[in-house]
């Protein structure tokens, strides 16, 4: 029996699998057919709910869309409008600030993970307490924090005035300077638990014998952290970072509940502006163009993050 070696894409790039003729070959073809048969429904759903809407969205971004009539092709008009749109630039800048707050959350979560990874009594309780914020509905979190920030009856103003830090209440959510940082704090509080779980799982996957060997060799705890913990935690940090970026791009409910993007767009994110453009301003076509920009930004940032963490989602060793 002769065999030929065509590339089998299911087994990965560069590999070849001998396709045997005869009974064995037909068995392999049946297996391949079965694999595709199982994959096809998911791929179909993926195509219908991800690829098709994405493609339609891109096409829409080049059209003047009419809800009740015919749409027409207008080329790059929406993208040109974006360049002159102050709100777009403000929301883009705010989104980048939101992304930049992710490392702060990750750092805090790392510190907490290191603490709750120590063998101490009650560490499971501490882990639970920190994690508890994550499963809460974001809308509920937004409402609670909105009340905590309230100028008249809010907890923060009460504490700050009681401690003598301020003598007049601060209008956190009505202030151009404080609105976005106030939302960021609420966001970090909510997602901290989730980052902690990811980093904790990464910490627990690090073999203990590495630390033992390092101790024997005289490495200090700081050196062990920098030379062992951090490099081996890279995939987890990369994952947390990607989730942080995605949260920045999808953090609609928190902003909508707390400030609705105000005052005067000072806490507007791209995602809330997209919603407003589509459903409050009835500019679905312009919203589509904004979405395309957001998507490109997301892809670029994820690529940059991957490169900074050494490639392969942080799994590859560098240096």
């Amino acid at each position: 029996m002769t065999s030929s070696f065509p590339r089998n894409t299911l087994t990965g790039a560069g590999s070849t699998v001998p396709v045997r003729r005869g009974a064995a070959g037909s068995k392999q073809r049946r297996e391949l057919t079965l694999i595709w048969a199982f994959l096809l429904p998911s791929l179909l759903v993926f195509f219908l709910y991800r690829i098709l809407p994405l493609a339609w969205n891109v096409i829409l971004s080049f059209q003047q869309f009419s809800l009740f009539g015919e749409s027409k092709w207008i080329g790059f008009v929406h993208y040109r409008d974006m360049l002159e749109d102050e709100v777009f630039w403000t929301s883009l800048w705010n989104t980048l600030i939101y992304i930049a707050s992710a490392p702060i959350g990750i750092l805090l979560a790392l510190a907490i993970s290191l603490m709750v990874n120590i063998e101490i009594r009650g560490r499971n309780l501490y882990r639970t307490i920190v994690f508890l914020s994550y499963p809460l509905m974001t809308v509920a979190v937004g409402i609670i924090w909105r009340w905590m920030y309230d100028e008249k009856v809010g907890l923060f103003n009460f504490i700050l005035r009681y401690l003598g830090v301020i003598d007049k209440p601060l209008p956190f959510l009505q202030s151009f300077e404080w609105a976005l940082p106030s939302i960021l704090l609420a966001n970090v509080w909510q997602i901290l638990g989730f980052y902690m779980i990811i980093l904790l799982a990464g910490l627990q996957a690090i073999p203990q014998n590495l630390y033992e060997a390092a101790s024997i060799d005289g490495a200090s705890p700081r050196q062990q952290f920098i030379r062992i913990t951090l490099p081996l935690l890279r995939p987890s940090i990369f994952l947390a970072f990607v989730i942080g970026i995605m949260t920045s791009f999808t953090s609609f409910d928190l902003v909508y509940v707390m400030t609705q993007g105000g005052p005067s767009h000072s806490s507007e994110l791209l995602v809330t502006y997209i919603y407003k453009a589509a459903f409050e301003l009835s500019r679905i076509d312009y919203a589509a163009a904004l979405t395309v920009v957001q998507f490109v930004l997301l892809v670029v940032l994820t690529w940059v993050g991957n490169r900074l963490s050494g490639g392969d989602a942080g799994a590859r060793e560098t240096g």
Binding site: L67, F68, Q174, F176, P263, S264, H265, S282
Partner: protein, 420 residues
């Protein structure tokens, strides 16, 4: 062992036969039974009333099924637009404020003028000024569902403490009263800010938003700068509560209900919200008046027919029924609103003067000075003009820009929005 596969073929044939039989019998019945749907705006508390509407309509048109849907305000445009794109818009929609204009201007609403010409008694039912609120390009697109406009509520106790005896008669007096009543945690005044509800504060000073042809901004005037500057100063020194410019419904109304605000510039539904939260509120402690000059922004709810409706004639029949005196009176009684139906509003007010005189005082203002409605320009892109204008107002009143800078920037943005 029993061979289940042997049953497969006969089972499939039997199943197919049953399906064919069902649709053969059902299709004539399905073809005869029609269906209309109506979508309301955040009024789920009237479910019982709507069921009664549907039951009554079923007696008139047994061949028609009626479905009721309700969405909260922020969800409404999202839901409606997605239904329009899907080709299944609700036949009848109830909108608040100026949203209907965007749909009508884009050709999404049925022109009701021919229907009203044919059924002349329908037009005669309604308060003409309120009915005219829903005209665009000389066509009438909606019938009144329930009507409201802005007015001034005031806390008589705070007025007395500040040595004030009557509501303000001019803008300057209003600012002066606000300053006098603001002490410590108390503020002098609040206004609602959505849907142009704050516009009477400008209109009473002779400021127009746009030129008469609605093609260019007309508000960047020395007077407007003066007004905006006064509002900004009052906000900075506590005369006007900041939540006027950043809150929407719960915060400003809640603040007034707490009894720490001297005046509230809001539309009539706010009264019922406040009363539910304000134990201090009674005829001795609460007053309602027109704002200086009598200007008011309407924030009424209308009922219209979607262009995509498959049964516009049936939808019209349904509309006629629900806006009749019988049903508007029932609605009025249950929800304590005025409906724009002249006869039932008269009956409602007469009854309310005996049963709830304070509410009657508030609602009476809604039928007065209806020739001084403002903030209801027939703009096809009303929301875009609002979105271009209001953030600059916020910039000024919250101290980020001077009034002159804010109005200058607003003028550029509004003109850009109008030019689209």
């Amino acid at each position: 062992m029993f061979n289940w596969k042997s049953l497969l073929r006969p089972s499939s044939l039997l199943g197919a036969a049953l399906v064919v039989a069902y649709f053969s019998m059902a299709t004539p019945a399905l073809a005869q039974q029609k269906k209309i749907s109506f979508l309301t705006w955040n009024i789920a508390d009237q479910e019982e009333l709507f069921k009664e509407w549907i039951a009554e309509f079923k007696k008139i048109r047994p061949d028609v099924d009626v479905e009721w849907l309700d969405k909260k305000g922020p969800e409404f445009p999202t839901y409606y637009q997605t239904q329009v794109i899907a080709g299944t818009p609700p036949d009848i929609i109830n909108t608040q404020g100026g949203l209907w204009l965007e749909y009508a201007a884009a050709g999404g609403m049925v022109d009701l003028t021919p229907f009203m010409a044919r059924d002349a008694d329908v037009r005669r039912r309604f308060n003409a000024d309120y009915l005219a609120n829903w005209t665009y390009d000389s066509k009438n697109y909606m019938l009144p569902f329930y009507i409201s406009k802005s007015l001034l509520f005031y806390n008589k106790t705070m007025f007395k403490e500040a040595g004030l005896t009557a509501p303000p008669q001019t803008f300057d007096q209003m600012m002066d009263f606000a300053a006098k009543m603001s002490k410590g945690d108390k503020t002098g005044m609040l206004t609602l800010n959505f849907d142009w509800l704050y516009w009477p504060l400008f209109q009473m000073n002779g400021v127009d938003l746009l030129t008469p042809d609605l093609k260019k901004a007309a508000f960047n005037t020395p007077k407007a700068v003066q007004v905006l500057d006064a509002l900004a100063k009052a906000t900075a020194n506590g005369g006007i509560n900041k939540v006027s410019w950043t809150g929407r419904w719960v915060e400003p109304n809640g603040a007034f209900a707490a009894g720490n605000v001297g005046m509230l510039h809001a539309h009539s539904p706010a009264f019922f919200f406040i009363r539910g939260q304000a134990p201090w509120l009674n005829a001795d402690t609460f007053g309602a008046a027109h704002v200086p000059g009598g200007w008011a922004t309407p924030n009424s709810h209308g009922l219209g027919i979607s262009k995509g409706s498959k049964h516009p004639e049936i939808a019209w029949e349904f509309l006629k029924m629900i806006t009749s005196e019988k049903w508007t009176a029932r609605f009025s009684e249950r929800r304590k609103v005025l409906t724009g139906n002249i006869a039932s509003d008269k009956t409602t007010l007469e009854k309310m003067r005996k049963d709830d005189p304070l509410a009657a005082t508030v609602l009476q203002t809604q039928l007065e000075q209806t020739d001084k409605l403002t903030g209801n320009w027939r703009l096809a892109n009303d929301s875009q003009v609002k979105a271009a204008f209001y953030p600059e107002i916020q910039n000024a009143v919250l101290g980020r820009k001077t009034a002159a800078e804010a109005l200058k920037d607003a003028e550029v943005k509004v003109n850009r929005a109008l030019a689209r």
